[in-house]
Amino acid sequence: MNPKNCWHPLGLSHSIEAGSSAGTRLLDRELVVWRDNSGVAHVWEDRCPHRGMKLSFGFVRGDHIACLYHGWQYNSGGHCQYIPAHPALDVPKTIKVPVYPAHERNGMVWTALSENPPSVPDDDEPVVPLRSLYLGCGVEAAAAALNACRLVPFGSQTPADTTVSRLSDTLFALSCAQDRLLVGIQAISNTRTALHLSIVGSAERYNGAGQSHLNGWALQWRQALETRAANARLDQDVA
């Protein structure tokens, strides 16, 4: 995987409400995901050019985000528009936050680190958000764990044969009986990975009980992974 040449999921769309912001990390870069009041998601470097404060601590007002520290306001293009300490100042265009592309697909917010990323896949299946999971391993180990997983389908209590397909460098699909999960893989760092899970299907079928069932499976799956990793470390220490 060339991380410069693909789209990366940063979180579930429903977890970033309009008028709010959240900090995250991608390949050791600090990013802020914020959603303006009209519902458009933005992905920027999480750093005010003034004094370096995280913009994820800031306030969203309309289509602007304002830094918590000195109130510098940035428009949706990342340009500083207003400095409260100098209200008459015509702020130069050079005071700008680095901005990354942002798209929403499959219930997730995606970004790319390249200025010319590949086109966003057209398919955007109707999904129900499930949850995000955070793992203490790199993306390849997370991908290997996904390839070996067995889903417990909604309405059943036992794991069943699961087909795992890699739809792109950073998106997996888990299919089992009538259920299909999409899993976006976010490389936080070499040793930390986030998985963002959504369920393909209608809210009528999965909202509530379906989400609860698959959420329980996801938590048990992560628990099993962590237990195996802890045991492996123990074996290494003993050896």
Partner: protein, 83 residues
């Protein structure tokens, strides 16, 4: 917004190349026009012009300077362009 032209002499202990790069970066970030005068291990002279608030911000930034330079004194002369 008032436009201002100011002549600065920063005095102290300098790595001239380091200070020049630092000042250039700050001027670009603040959208100021910058022209360097003489630069030595003891002093760096420069002219800067732009909005008065941003010239003030430039002075503050350069008075801290990069990690390998010590600015001990700043002499500022505001030039009246109308004169």
């Amino acid at each position: 917004m008032t436009h201002e032209h100011a002549r600065f002499v920063f005095k102290g202990t300098f790595q001239p190349a380091s200070f020049v790069e630092f000042a250039q970066h700050r001027a670009e970030r603040l959208g100021l026009d910058l022209q360097f005068g003489q630069a030595s291990m003891e002093a760096v002279a420069l002219n800067v012009s732009g909005a008065v608030e941003l010239v003030d911000a430039f002075e503050m930034a350069c008075s801290l300077g990069p990690f390998d330079c010590f600015v001990l004194d700043v002499v500022r002369h505001d030039v009246d362009l109308a004169a």
